[in-house]
């Protein structure tokens, strides 16, 4: 049987045109909500057009009309089967203060994995510097291998804060964007099944460990603590949480112990990834401000005890925030996807 194409087009065209105009209206204004009669009409037009497409495909081979109807049905399908809801609106403040700590807790095994990779890197950095002092040229970054810690301390204390005087905001801006790039790359490397994330975390740990060991071995532990703690107590956890996001992505990709299809696993973690990245961004903004405007001032301008106390206080507040924040606003924390 071959479709009476002329009759088919004559009867279908007004309905297709009506559906097309409704779809265009929805596409142009995503916030438009149809009234009940409009929604009923839209549904009827969609079903009718879908049925027309089915008839055309079965009983006639007319490619141009088929393509037109396919495109129309696809657009209407996307509009009608909308999976968004009110909670899909992105609210950064709510994301940070409520959802972020919960997401961190929900995937605590990934957090533990990320922390373990960082600590392993720190231990490797410490060991490499103590066992082979020349390794400092390979393990240290940001110019720390160019002078000894004592020389650096002397230089910093003699010009306390003057090194970035008049450029604190620029320095803070640089730190925020640089650390954000590092964090995003660490998270994105989760697409390697988490291997790239672990390598990135380990490398960061090596740099941190070797610098710390260098300063402690040179008797500059107080300077180191006063310099690192004010921003590091927020910045380092932020990078670790970015690693957590990377491992979460890697875990979803590998899907060990899960019978869910890959698409569902990735979809299940997508919102939490966004939440974790939002939280990391918030933490890094704070860390950048502290490092730019506070950490670079040393004795005699600022006593190390004050800086260390400030850093420890931040650590306590951050820990409490991550442990207790957002509690009671949702059901129990769960960990649906094990780490790789």
């Amino acid at each position: 049987m071959i479709l009476d194409l002329e009759q088919f087009l004559k009867s279908g065209r007004p309905l297709w045109t009506e559906l097309e105009s409704m779809v265009e209206r929805m596409e142009e204004n995503p916030r438009w909500r149809p009234t009940l009669p409009e929604a009923t009409r839209l549904h009827y037009l969609y079903e009718r057009t879908a049925a027309d497409l089915g008839r055309l495909t079965t009983f006639a081979c007319e490619p141009s009309t088929s393509r037109y109807l396919e495109s129309l049905v696809a657009r209407a399908h996307g509009e009608i089967h909308d999976r968004r809801n009110a909670t899909d609106r992105f609210r950064p403040v709510r994301e940070f203060f409520q959802n972020f700590p919960r997401a961190v807790r929900r995937h605590r095994r990934c957090l533990a994995g990320s922390l373990a990779a960082t600590v392993a890197g720190v231990l490797f950095g410490v060991a490499s510097l103590l066992l082979d002092p020349d390794s400092r040229y390979a393990t240290m970054a940001y110019g720390h291998d160019a002078q000894t810690p004592s020389q650096r301390v002397q230089q910093e204390e003699s010009r306390s804060g003057m090194g970035v005087a008049g450029a604190q905001a620029q320095f803070a801006g640089y730190l925020m964007t640089h650390n954000m790039r590092v964090s995003l790359t660490t998270m994105a490397l989760g697409m390697t099944g988490g291997v790239g994330t672990v390598v990135s975390l380990f490398y960061n740990g090596v740099i941190l460990g070797s610098i710390a060991a260098d300063y402690v071995a040179d008797g500059q532990a107080a300077f180191l603590a006063g310099w690192i703690l004010p921003h590091g107590t927020v910045e380092i956890p932020a990078i670790v949480i970015a690693g957590q996001a990377g491992l979460l992505l890697g875990a979803a990709l590998i899907g060990r112990g899960s019978r869910e299809p890959l698409r569902h696993r990735l979809s299940a973690v997508r919102t939490d990834l966004l939440t974790l990245v939002t939280g990391v961004a918030g933490l890094l903004i704070w860390a950048g401000l502290v490092e730019g405007f506070f950490s670079q001032y040393h004795e005699p301008v600022l006593p190390y005890s004050l800086k260390i106390t400030f850093g420890l206080l931040e650590l306590v507040v951050l820990s409490l925030f991550l442990i207790r924040g957002g509690a009671g606003t949702d059901g129990p924390d769960a960990n649906p996807i094990p780490p790789p």
Binding site: E6, A60, E62, A169, T177
Partner: protein, 259 residues
């Protein structure tokens, strides 16, 4: 020649209707990306110039805002435009591409953000090498960001309602004077054959004269062998007119037309 695996994404609606979305190939995506990269560069330089003016007043703050603005433009451009323009950036608009959910649903914000943030790994080690290779190897032409966000980039060719009625409008069709033969013809001819005839008629002006004659001769011969009409009805008809009359009988219903 390098063959890209991308072609179409077949979706099936809950009503059981299947339709295809044409997937964008790596080259068209590269072109869209080049436009976007150029635009990001222009935006950065504009913002940089404006903030340089601010630098005359507060130099440190201007430098900080410039750094942050560059970062936000670089990462926010794709997120903002793809969210506001329903899966399109300016480059994608120009090349007529769109990011869509791989199941045909509306894009969610988390999908837009994730596919854009994962550019950090797609761009490695430079010039989108990882993303490009992934795109070429993926059966749905997805880079890693698309894969994680479950999105695909599709082409959006302009489809308008075809006007087929003009093909047959107002023309006398001698074959219609034999309704029983017309009914047999509609029974014998397959939809695929009818489609070939219809497409040949729609595209006849684009054909080379020799090819046009040969094609319509072959089609006419085929239809004649299926259902022979009396010679007095077909006398004086060219092969092309004969095919047009047959196509009209097949696709335009069972109207009876008196001579």
């Amino acid at each position: 020649m390098l063959e890209f695996p991308s072609s179409t994404l077949r979706l099936r609606t809950p009503e059981g209707i299947a339709f295809d979305l044409p997937l964008a190939g790596p080259m068209s995506r590269l072109l869209a990306w080049a436009v976007d990269a150029l635009l990001i560069g222009v935006l950065c330089s504009l913002v940089g110039s404006l903030l340089a003016l601010l630098g005359w007043v507060v130099r440190d703050l201007a430098a900080a805002v410039t750094l942050i603005a560059f970062f936000l433009i670089q990462f926010g451009y794709g997120i903002l435009l793809e969210w506001r323009w329903r899966g399109q950036t300016l480059g994608k608009r120009l090349v007529r591409l769109r990011v869509v959910d791989a199941t045909g649903h509306k894009l969610q914000f988390s999908q837009v953000v994730l596919r854009n943030l994962l550019r950090a790994v797609d761009i490695l080690p430079g010039s989108y090498l990882v993303g490009g290779i992934a795109c070429c190897l993926s059966p749905r032409a997805q880079r890693l960001g698309d894969f994680a966000a479950n999105t695909v980039v599709v082409r959006i060719p302009k489809h308008t309602q075809p006007d087929l009625t003009q093909l047959f409008a107002g023309r006398y069709n001698s074959l219609r004077s034999r309704p029983h033969l017309c009914a047999r013809l509609r029974q014998e001819v397959t939809p695929a054959e009818a489609a070939v005839a219809l497409q040949a008629l729609l595209r006849r002006e684009q054909l080379d004269p020799a090819a046009r004659t040969a094609l319509f001769s072959e089609l006419a011969e085929r239809f004649r062998s299926r259902v022979p009409f009396p010679e007095d009805l077909t006398a004086g008809l060219s092969e092309e007119q004969y095919v047009r009359n047959v196509a009209e009988v097949i696709t335009a219903g069972g109207k009876i037309q008196e001579p």
